[in-house]
Amino acid sequence: MAFRSALYSKLLPALSLLAFLALWQVAAGFWPPELFPTPAAVARALRELAQTGVLWSHIAVSLARFVTAYLAAVALAVPLGLFLGRNPRCRQAIDPLVQVLRPISPIAWFPLAVLWFGIGNAPAVFIIFLAAFYPVLLSTISAVIGIPPVYLKVASNFGAKPGAVFLRVIIPAAFPGIMVGLHIAVGTAWIHLVAGEMLGAQSGLGYLIVDARNFMRTDSVMAGMLVVGVLGLGINQLMRRAESWLSRRWGGVA
């Protein structure tokens, strides 16, 4: 049984992938190749991009922007979230502002971002930053609010100092909730990375896609999309691994 379920877990995804490729091949037959390239054409384009080295430099640029913006968002949103979670008055004051700013898509910030920061890395980084910032901030706030009161009662009863309460109770107690936000933010940040790079950058995977479109290289467009998808999957897996490693260290509750 174990063998069969292991077989299915490999076989079923492989089958659906094959079916998808077959469907793609058939669908591509109805349009001219410059509008809808076949899987084989996309694979060729991908190889070409990889061999010339263009692909790798774009990937490196994209990953660097992603990591910078994501870490900056985390570094700002987590402390701010911890602070707001512990201070109901400040939270009340800031909440309406957050509620108005949050529904604005990071993409909408693009015109201003270009005006303020010019063309280059900064607008893309700014947009990824915004995309990661709100999920981390909001999940940190709700994680802190959701700390069972008994944890704090116990700490106060034993006379723990405020600094110790913060470091040894509030942060670890909020940690599983913060982790959820970090995970969500990785996804939204990666999605907005490509969008940000399509709008104003001169490099990166988003730029690669736009650039290919300008030359009507739909095969390269699709190759770029494929790379974005696969890298996104890889980042998500990495995040999941980090998460389960951390939660094991955390007593297996997260």
């Binding site: 700490a155 034993f158 040894r168 107690a173 509750v253």
Partner: protein, 264 residues
């Protein structure tokens, strides 16, 4: 033999404003002295103010009138010398058994080897040495409460407050832990204030049982049970006090039922 007064309640009262703005009395004035090293059980149906009363003594709530004092000093807040044990254990899930006990010991100011020795000593006292490196999630409810008891005792408090500590446990575990608690109490002799809604538990454990009544929360009667420990759960001598308490409780219940009728 007159033991010294440990906890003194003088006309302690708790009122609060309900969400509709009405003045609600959670606890009508209570006057009660608890002697040093005594085991007192507060028992009564829900709404009788027993949890409010223990929270006032432990410093988690402030009284609206009257004074609560321990060792002659008015209670102004929580104190590491007066430790509360909660029904929901309050263990930190990200810390092991040892880590949880260490938290309390280190909060008290012990460091390094000294802290470790103290924590280990009390984990052994409650018989959990083998589970020292386990996380709370891996323990049964009874074991979790033993960890909480070890954590509380490790700071060597003079008063232990217990708010329905065994309320979430099955009957067998509860009886076992009652005996464990008595053993630990007789070894360390802190003053015990034990809240429960279980009359049998109150009679079995308490040197005195404070029966409380609802609407508004108040002390109905205080029954002294001058039997030595360990007690025979099914014995005739305990049975006498049990009957007395049940009769009194029945009265409380009838009154509450009648008042509820009028309220409707």
């Amino acid at each position: 033999m007159t033991a010294s007064v440990k906890i003194s309640l003088q006309a302690v009262e708790k009122r609060y404003a309900s969400p509709r703005g009405e003045d609600v009395t959670a606890l009508a004035p209570v006057t009660l002295d608890i002697a040093s090293g005594e085991f007192v059980c507060l028992v009564g149906p829900s709404g009788c103010g027993k949890t409010t009363l223990i929270n006032l003594m432990a410093g988690f709530e402030k009284s609206s009138a009257g004074t609560v004092s321990i060792d002659g000093n008015p209670v102004r807040g929580t104190d590491p010398d007066h430790v509360m044990i909660f029904q929901e254990y309050g263990l930190y899930p990200w810390r092991t058994v040892l880590g949880n006990v260490l938290f309390a010991v280190e909060a008290k100011g012990l460091k390094g080897k000294e802290a470790l020795e103290k924590a280990t000593e009390y984990i052994e006292l409650v018989g959990l040495t083998k589970s020292s490196d386990s996380f709370p999630r891996q323990l049964s409810g009874g074991m979790k409460q033993r960890v909480a008891i070890a954590r509380a005792l490790a700071v060597e408090p003079s008063v232990l407050f217990l708010d329905e500590p065994f309320g979430a446990l099955d009957a067998f575990t509860r009886m076992y832990l009652q005996d464990e608690l008595l053993r630990l109490w007789q070894e360390k002799r802190p003053t015990m204030v034990f809240v429960t809604h279980d009359l049998d538990e109150a009679v079995y454990l308490g040197g005195r049982v404070v029966l409380m009544a609802p609407g508004p929360g108040r002390v109905q009667r205080v029954i002294t049970i001058p039997l030595p420990w360990p007690r025979d759960r099914t014995g005739e001598s305990l049975g006498k006090y049990r009957r007395e308490l049940f009769e009194e409780f029945h009265l409380v219940h009838q009154q509450a039922a009648i008042e509820a009728e009028y309220a409707i």
